[in-house]
Symmetry: C2
Subunit: 360 residues, 2 copies
DNA sequence: TTATGTTGCGCAATCGATGGTGCAGGGACT
DNA sequence: AGTCCCTGCACCATCGATTGCGCAACATAA
């Protein structure tokens, strides 16, 4: 009567109990029973027994047989970083909504680790792999290709598989225009008061810089290369850059397009060393979402990459028959000044528990 | 010659190629070959072939046979939240260091989802489960117990399994004392200038409040209940609380112990509505790590929960034979004012790429 | 020469679920 | 009665790796 303690019940147990064959039990429990013309009453009985004995299918066995696992992988450079953890969050949600089990692994932008992790995941017969921000997406591609595993690049495009990335050009354009438009008609921005700081020679930054120059040229008639200062994705270097430009002209440019959260942190470090200064009349743009930026005394306009849409698009691609290595561009969202701190989630929570009200 | 495209090589393939039996191949490849007295030269040959044909073991098959999977699960309330994503990060790192494959699933503090997710993970024959911040750890315990899966509570203790949690009393004590000591001898803090805002009736908050009162009594001779204002974990409610106390006395108490990052966000919202005010002479404590807090114009003392140690301890427990449901307390760390923004990681990165230099 | 090890490895069952195929029984129709 | 079809299900090989057991060949000891 009492189910064996510590021993999971199998279809064979249920077969015994119900008098049906294991294959019938299997069919009933995996939903293929109508196709196999099992009588409704038989199915009901087996389902009842399954419930009663807390049956749950052994996915290793099932996966072995079907050579699929219900697992889906995500390779991530690093976890603990807002943009990436947003992606992980969306990934997890959507994977689970499809009944898939998410495995997230961080590979530190190391090509060897990327390949090794991909291989490791593949040895679990994962059904698909998302490759986010990889240093070497095409290396991972090879591994997946060899194993016949569907895979999609996220956030950084590869040449061999479909990719979903932020539309950096569009984001850069929107942010640059927003910066210029933030200034009143009676004290308009001039061309050399507008700088871009941060980033390095990568795909994303190049697109943003291109947009920056394009808008700048369109709006001011010209744009020169030294308006852009690529510091790398480093808080310290960004801080030094701010320091430099500050020294050079005795104050900060009135409008700065900061290329990432990391670089924005450099800016904050700069600010802490210049507490006394007056920043009214300044407007900062940040190509990343940093909620606390809304607390600053001057306006900060942000671009929030739409992790949710990116992941959604990637899943959509999985649904379609496998496609050529197209790049899908996802427009990022503009976050107007002072709006980051109040989330739409504020309203829907019981006062006692609003963990979902994400703070940082 | 060329390995079949798209078809993974198995021990049977290698058996054919090497002339050895599948069991010998298996033994060689899983390392048990010495125990089975396989000749060294045979082993070498098989390993060579395995390499050549890019063999990798099918973990579903292996797992099925051994009824273990090499997977390890983590149940998390939510991802996108600094404390939890730190835990996820540490978990991922340590799991992989042990050759385990991490599966992180967020369950939104919903008891039913917690159980369901645990069952789902168990159906993959996970080797162990960490249960972090669960609403109903003992419910999850039952599920695990029934399946014979080792499990450990993290961050919130259960009564039925070993738990690893922050030492909230100690953290509360340290933070309260640091707040008091932050004031100079010539303008010392008085008892009713010290408040605690945020949190609700839960295990963690209770311990912190107890410490708060204890220190307050010790240092000031008395402590009254209305120095504590539990607002729930809500930014909005915390903001309202600050507003209330501000109105009541015409200014903020000079020292406030804020109970969490979420509540701290409420404080920031309060500040944005009171930009003009002078906060010199104020000191804020926050029982959570919020890097950007270091940017504020007044000192913010933070308590950083030691996710890394918590996870490490949890893994250590796994190594030991299963133990009684003991609670392990991990002392959190004090983050002195203005120190959050400069990480030790600043130094070790190439300028071009310091993603690991976590910003927020 | 016979008893006793030791070395090196193969045999075959097993883990649990799946799905192609086949087959018995019953009804309908010629 | 013979043919055909449909219903409802069982049989059994299979996925790939693991492991208890056994056995041949050779060495050593008595």
């Amino acid at each position: 009567m009492a189910p064996d303690p510590r021993k999971k019940t199998t279809i064979y147990d249920l077969s015994q109990l119900s008098g049906a064959s294991p294959s019938t039990v299997s069919a009933v429990l995996n939903g293929s029973w109508r196709k196999r013309r099992i009588k409704e009453s038989t199915a009901e009985e087996i389902q009842r027994l399954a419930e009663e004995h807390q049956y749950s299918t052994n996915r290793q066995a099932s996966g072995l047989r079907r050579s699929r696992s219900g697992l889906i992988g995500l390779l991530l450079p690093i976890y603990d970083f807002h943009h990436f953890s947003s992606i992980a969050q969306s990934f997890e949600l959507r994977a689970r909504r499809r009944g898939l089990c998410p495995i997230v692994v961080s590979t530190h932008r190391d090509p060897a680790e990327e390949r090794a992790s991909a291989e490791h995941l593949i040895s679990y017969s994962i059904d698909a792999l998302f490759v986010c921000g990889a240093a070497d997406p095409d290396g991972v591609h090879e591994v997946c290709e060899a194993a016949g595993v569907r895979h999609i690049n996220l956030d950084l495009s590869g040449t061999r598989a479909p990719s979903v990335v932020s539309d950096n050009y569009d984001g850069g354009r929107v942010l640059t225009e927003a910066l210029i438009d933030a200034f009143p008609a009676d004290a308009p921005l001039t061309v050399d008061e507008l700088m871009l700081i941060g980033g390095r020679e990568d795909e994303a930054t190049r697109a943003r810089v291109r947009a920056f120059h394009d808008v700048r040229s369109t709006r001011f008639g010209r744009s020169d290369a030294d308006a852009v200062d690529l510091t790398g994705y480093s808080a310290r270097n960004a801080k030094l850059a701010f320091e430099r430009h500050y020294q050079a002209r005795g104050r900060l440019p009135r409008a700065v397009f900061i290329n990432s959260a990391i670089n924005f942190e450099g800016f904050l470090r700069f600010l802490t060393d210049h507490r006394g200064d007056d920043y009214s009349g300044h407007v900062i743009g940040c190509f990343d979402y940093v909620p606390f930026a809304s607390f600053l005394s001057f306006p900060v306009i942000m671009i929030r990459q739409d992790a949710e849409s990116m992941v959604a698009t990637a899943f959509d691609i999985l649904d379609r028959p496998s496609e050529a290595p197209v790049v899908h561009l996802i427009p990022p969202q503009l976050v107007p000044p002072r709006t980051a701190l109040t989330g739409p989630l504020d309203e829907i929570h019981s006062p006692g528990d609003d963990l979902r009200d994400r703070s940082l």
